[in-house]
């Protein structure tokens, strides 16, 4: 990799100016990040310059792998019980539904999550952030969605952490999610954020989603009905995967309504 040395890193002001400029030139209303959003420096050499080529999906692309409890044990959705002691930090519950673009639940599908600990440190050999590891927290979990598309994890609120994109760069606290839909083309890897984080406007990864309302869809809501007395703070976050017919069927439904 050609990561610049520390001396050559841009300032936050320079990165923020790039974010503003790149967003001003973006396609309005885009759901997904611009792969060429180079305020996120690692994107510079890792995004295709050619347009994607359209393909009609074949059968294999219209189905997904099948998962079940042969693959995932129910307790794997609780990231706080993987060691002998309790992890440090603010215990949280994150719950919601996985839906397709037509609002149908994505049933019995695999959800994988991973995150930093409460100090902002990942259990990963490449994470050099000088924050403590927690011997009682690994930060990985997985589950199979319910018949209503629901998921629920118990965890610890992750900390923000510094990275080398630019000088004094900090990632807002987030949980990584990996999702499968009913069709492989619905595959999604994303990050869930916590409401009210002052780092949002400064972060080129979140801001690579150039549409403001699309960015909001990655931010969980605090939900007091999810919060459990004397136990954990609750957040709700629904995930919408593309429906195979999301683009065509809206018009068709209108015609037949």
């Amino acid at each position: 990799m050609t990561d610049p040395s520390r001396d050559e890193l841009a300032s936050q002001a320079e990165i923020s100016a790039e974010i503003t400029r790149l967003q001003a030139g973006a396609t309005p209303g885009a759901d997904h990040p611009d792969r060429g959003f180079t305020a996120y420096r690692s994107a510079t050499l890792r995004h295709p310059l050619h347009d994607l080529v359209r393909a009609d999906p074949e059968v294999i692309e219209l189905v997904s792998p099948v998962y079940g409890h042969t693959d995932v044990a129910p307790q794997e959705s609780d990231l706080t019980i993987q060691h002998s002691g309790e992890p440090l930090g603010e215990r949280i519950i994150v719950t919601g539904r996985v839906l397709d673009g037509e609002g149908r639940p994505v049933r019995n599908q695999l959800v994988e999550v991973w995150q930093a600990n409460s100090a902002g440190r990942y259990v990963h050999k490449r994470d050099q952030h000088p924050a403590p590891l927690d011997p009682n927290f690994t930060g990985t979990g997985r589950l199979i969605t319910g018949d209503d598309g629901s998921y629920r994890i118990t965890s610890i609120k992750p900390g923000a952490y510094p990275w080398r994109n630019h000088r004094n760069a900090w990632r807002p606290a987030h949980i990584h999610f990996s999702l499968f839909g009913t069709e492989f083309t619905q595959r999604l890897v994303t990050q869930m954020y916590f409401p009210g984080d002052p780092l949002f406007p400064l972060d080129p990864i979140l801001q690579s989603i150039t549409d403001a309302s699309a960015r909001q869809r990655l931010i969980a809501h605090y939900d007091h009905d999810v919060t459990e007395p004397d136990w954990a703070i609750g957040y709700r976050w629904d995930i919408v995967l593309t429906g195979s017919k999301a683009t065509w069927m809206e018009g068709e439904h209108d015609d037949h309504a």
Binding site: M1, D31, H32, P33, D34, R35, S42, A43, L45, R46, H47, P48, H50, L52, V53, R54, A55, P57, V59, I60, E61, V63, P65, V66, Y67, G68, T70, D71, L99, G101, E102, G103, L110, E112, W114, Y122, V123, H124, R126, G139, T140, H176, F184, T185, Q186, R187, V189, Q191, I205, L206, S208, R217, L218, I239, V240, S244, A246, T247, W248, H253
Partner: protein, 197 residues
Amino acid sequence: MTTPDSTHAMAARQTPSQTVGPFYGYALPYAGGPELLPPHAPETIRLHGTVFDGDSEPVPDALIEIWQPDAAGAVVAERGSLHRDGYTFTGFGRAAVDGSGHYSFTTVKPGSARAGSAPYILVTVFARGLLHHLFTRAYFSDEPAANGADPFLAGVDAARVATLVAERDGAAQYRFDIRLQGENETVFIDYPLSRRA
């Protein structure tokens, strides 16, 4: 019929992608992930290659997933992609590249899923720096007739078709390098039914 509930849900817009980041390595790879078939089974092939960036440097932190039908071209619907039992072919595999950007799967060569289309393995690329994953297809160099008749390949710029073809480089081994950007950039695929942007 459109119920009020589904009308509301239809208004829901898609959740955006974000990069897999650098730290998936302790979360997503799993035991047996690259081995859809055991390495030394008689019908096993190896699909391998290197992921390169726009400077033709290897990408040491990419994650590759494959998804494919069986040898007869039939979709399998077996559970157990995360829990290899050594017997069941599920059609899904996942491999992190090594420090030199190289990945390797052992699997079965898929059959063609329908008459007139060439067999291929669907390949998905995730990486730090890649804000939204990329799909591509690995066709096979020893299927020239099927590839020549394939309607998708026929529509691809002739100068770029070779980037979609895994080259046979051993008795039962195919090499499929993935170039994210620049010279010989791999053809990446978009599906009309699954993308709004």
